[in-house]
C-alpha cells in the first residue's frame, strides 16, 4: 500500500489553520468549572469532615512516587489542621475566574492542581466521574495553553506564522483528545460489561438497585420488581455503551445519542444517588456539540448588543443604577426620556417589554446569569407580565450582529 505523505501533511496543516471549536471549548470550560464549583459548594458545610482534621480518610501510599504524584497530594500528606481551607478558597476563586474567562490558562492550571489535591485528600468520596474530570482538566490545560498563546500573539501583533499554527494545533489536539477520552470510557466500560454474565443475561440492574448504597427505596419498589424494566434498562445501558464510541462521530446520531446518554446519567444521578458522576458525564457530552450550535448558545447567553433602558420612575432609575454597578462591559445604558427611541447610531432596533427587560439585562451581566433561567420560567408561566408596568415601560436594543435577529424571531415578528 502506497502512503500519500502529501495528503497526510495537508491533513495535519488543515488542523492548524485555526482553532476548530472555540465556542464548544468555552461552553465546555464554563460548564465543567460550574459543575466543580457547585460540587465544592455542596460539600462546603461538611468541609471539616472531608478535608479537615476531623476527616476519616488517611493518606494512601502509592508505589509511583514522582514529582507529579507528590505535587498532587500535598494536602493528603499534610497533617496541618487548617491547611485545607486555603486550598478550598483558592479553588473556589480559580473556578469563578475560570467561569468568567479571566486568566483562563492560569485558572486551568490552578483548578487542576487544587481540585486533585482536594480530591486526593477526600479519596473515599471519589468515583469514575471525578476520575474523568481530572483527566479532562489536564486536557483543558493543553487547550488553554494553545488558546492563550495565540491570544497574546494576536494582542501584540506578533508575526502570526508557524508559532501561531503550532498553538492552534495544540488547542485542537487537546480538544480531540478530550473527545477521544470520553469515547475510551464507553469502549472499555462496554467491552468489559460483555464479559459479565449479569449484563449478558439482562439482570445487572436488579443487583444494582438491590445495592443499598447505589439505590433508592422507590427504585427497589418500582423498578427492581419489574422484570421488563430490569431487562430493558440493562440492555439499553449495554447497547448504548457499545454504540456510543462509533455513532457519536456521525452528526445525525448525536441528536439521539446525547439525549439518551443524558437520560441514562440522570438516572444514575437521581436513582443511584451518584449525583456528581451523573452530572459530570452529562457535562462531558458538551464536547460533542457542533461549533455552529455552540456559537448560537454563546451569542444567545451573551449578546454583544447594547441595551438602552427607558426609566420613567425614580424607582426604576435607582434599580438601573444598582445594575450598572455590575455592568463592567458597559452593555446597558439609560435612554434619554425625551427621545424614547434608539439613538441615531442604531443600525437596527428591537423593543422589549415586561419580564423580557429583566432577561435582557441579566444576560448582559455575567454575575446575574444564574437568574436567567428563573426569569425565563417567569416569562413562560406569564408571571412576568404582572410586573410589566412596574419599573420599565420601553426599551430599545441596538443590534450589532445580524445573526442575533434569528434568535429572537418571535420578537422580530411582533415588531
Amino acid at each position: 500500500m502506497k502512503i500519500n505523505f502529501n495528503r497526510i501533511k495537508l491533513l495535519i496543516i488543515s488542523t492548524m489553520v485555526d482553532v476548530s471549536h472555540p465556542s464548544v471549548i468555552t461552553i465546555f470550560r464554563t460548564s465543567l468549572y460550574s459543575f466543580l464549583l457547585i460540587n465544592t459548594l455542596i460539600m462546603l458545610p461538611g468541609a471539616d469532615l472531608f478535608w479537615g482534621p476531623s476527616s476519616y480518610s488517611y493518606f494512601q501510599i502509592t508505589d509511583q512516587i514522582n514529582l507529579f504524584t507528590t505535587a498532587l497530594s500535598i494536602l493528603a500528606r499534610s497533617d496541618s489542621t487548617s491547611f485545607y481551607y486555603y486550598f478550598l478558597m483558592l479553588q473556589i476563586i480559580s473556578l469563578i475566574f475560570g467561569i468568567f474567562g479571566i486568566c483562563p490558562l492560569l485558572c486551568s492550571i490552578l483548578v487542576y492542581f487544587l481540585t486533585i489535591n482536594l480530591d486526593n485528600k477526600a479519596w473515599p468520596t471519589l468515583n469514575g466521574g471525578n476520575n474523568l474530570v481530572h483527566i479532562q482538566l489536564l486536557y483543558l490545560i493543553v487547550i488553554e495553553l494553545g488558546l492563550s498563546v495565540n491570544r497574546q500573539l494576536k494582542r501584540y501583533n506578533v508575526n502570526q506564522g508557524s508559532v501561531y499554527e503550532l498553538f492552534n494545533g495544540l488547542a485542537n489536539f487537546g480538544f480531540l483528545t478530550a473527545r477521544i477520552q470520553l469515547v475510551i470510557v464507553y469502549v472499555v466500560s462496554g467491552l468489559t460489561k460483555l464479559k459479565g454474565a449479569l449484563w449478558i443475561h439482562g439482570v445487572a440492574l436488579y443487583y444494582v438497585f438491590n445495592t443499598e448504597a447505589y439505590s433508592h427505596p422507590l427504585a427497589v419498589k418500582y423498578i427492581a420488581t419489574s422484570d421488563f424494566l430490569i431487562v430493558a434498562g440493562t440492555y439499553f445501558t449495554l447497547i448504548f455503551q457499545l454504540g456510543f464510541p462509533w455513532l457519536i462521530w456521525i452528526r445525525k446520531f448525536r441528536k439521539v445519542l446525547i439525549p439518551m446518554g443524558t437520560f441514562l446519567h440522570m438516572q444514575i444521578a437521581f436513582v443511584m444517588g451518584l449525583m456528581d458522576f451523573g452530572f459530570a458525564m452529562s457535562v462531558m457530552y458538551l464536547l460533542f456539540l457542533t461549533e455552529d450550535r455552540a456559537s448560537i448558545i454563546i451569542n444567545y447567553w451573551q449578546p454583544k448588543s447594547v441595551l438602552f433602558v427607558h426609566c420613567p420612575t425614580i424607582g426604576s432609575k435607582l434599580a438601573l443604577k444598582l445594575v450598572k454597578l455590575f455592568d463592567f462591559s458597559d452593555r446597558i445604558n439609560t435612554l434619554d426620556q425625551n427621545i424614547e427611541r434608539c439613538p441615531s447610531a442604531c443600525s437596527e432596533e428591537r423593543f422589549f417589554f415586561g419580564i423580557e427587560i429583566g432577561i435582557e439585562i441579566t444576560k448582559r451581566i455575567p454575575i446575574l446569569l444564574p437568574l436567567v433561567p428563573i426569569l425565563m420560567i417567569l416569562k413562560i408561566t406569564d408571571f412576568g407580565s404582572l410586573s410589566r408596568r412596574k419599573s420599565f415601560n420601553l426599551n430599545v436594543e441596538r443590534i450589532n450582529k445580524p445573526e442575533q435577529i434569528l434568535m429572537k424571531k418571535e420578537l422580530r415578528d411582533l415588531i
Binding site: I42, M43, A213
Partner: protein, 181 residues
Amino acid sequence: MVLFYIGPDNPFSERINKVAIRYIIPLLEQNWALFAPNPSTSNIKFGYKCNFNGQGWTQIKDPCASILERHYSNRFGYSGKLYYICDSIIREVHNYLYSLKKEKDCEQKDAACIKELEETLNHSAQYRTAKRFVTDLCMLEAPKTFISLSTKFYFIETFPRDFSKRNLSNNQNKPYLIEFK
C-alpha cells in the same frame, strides 16, 4: 496506548503496559472496567458496640444507616459523600484483612502466624481510622463520667435474593460477619 492499558487483556497489552504505566499512573490513571463486568451483589454494613466501665456492651448500631437515609431524602446534599466515607472505613479494613490473609496464608492452628497477622492489622492506617471513628461515636453516647471505654466493630455483608429466587418469601441469604476488637 491508553486503550491498551485500560482495555480488556489482549496479546499486546502486557508489552505495551510496561511503557504506558510510566506516564499513565501519575497523570492519566483510570480504570473504567470498574463499572463492569458485574455490579456488586452484596451490601456492606458497619456495626459497632461500646462498653463503658466494663458494664456491658451496648446494642449494635450502624452509623452509616442514618446518613444513607438522609441521602435518600435529599440527593443534593453532601450526605452521599459522607456515606461513601463511612462505608469506606469498614470496607477498607475488610479489604486489608483479606489481602493480609492472602499474603500470610496462616493455617488455622498456627497461633503465631495469626497473632502476627492481627498485629499487622492493628497497626494499619485502615484499622486505626476505623477504631478512631468508633471511639468518636462511642464518646457521643458516653455517660458524663466514665473510667474505661472498650469498643468493637463489625463488618457485615448481606446478600439480596438471587434474581432467580426473587419471588420466594423464605429464601433470605445468610449474612457474613467479621468482628474487629
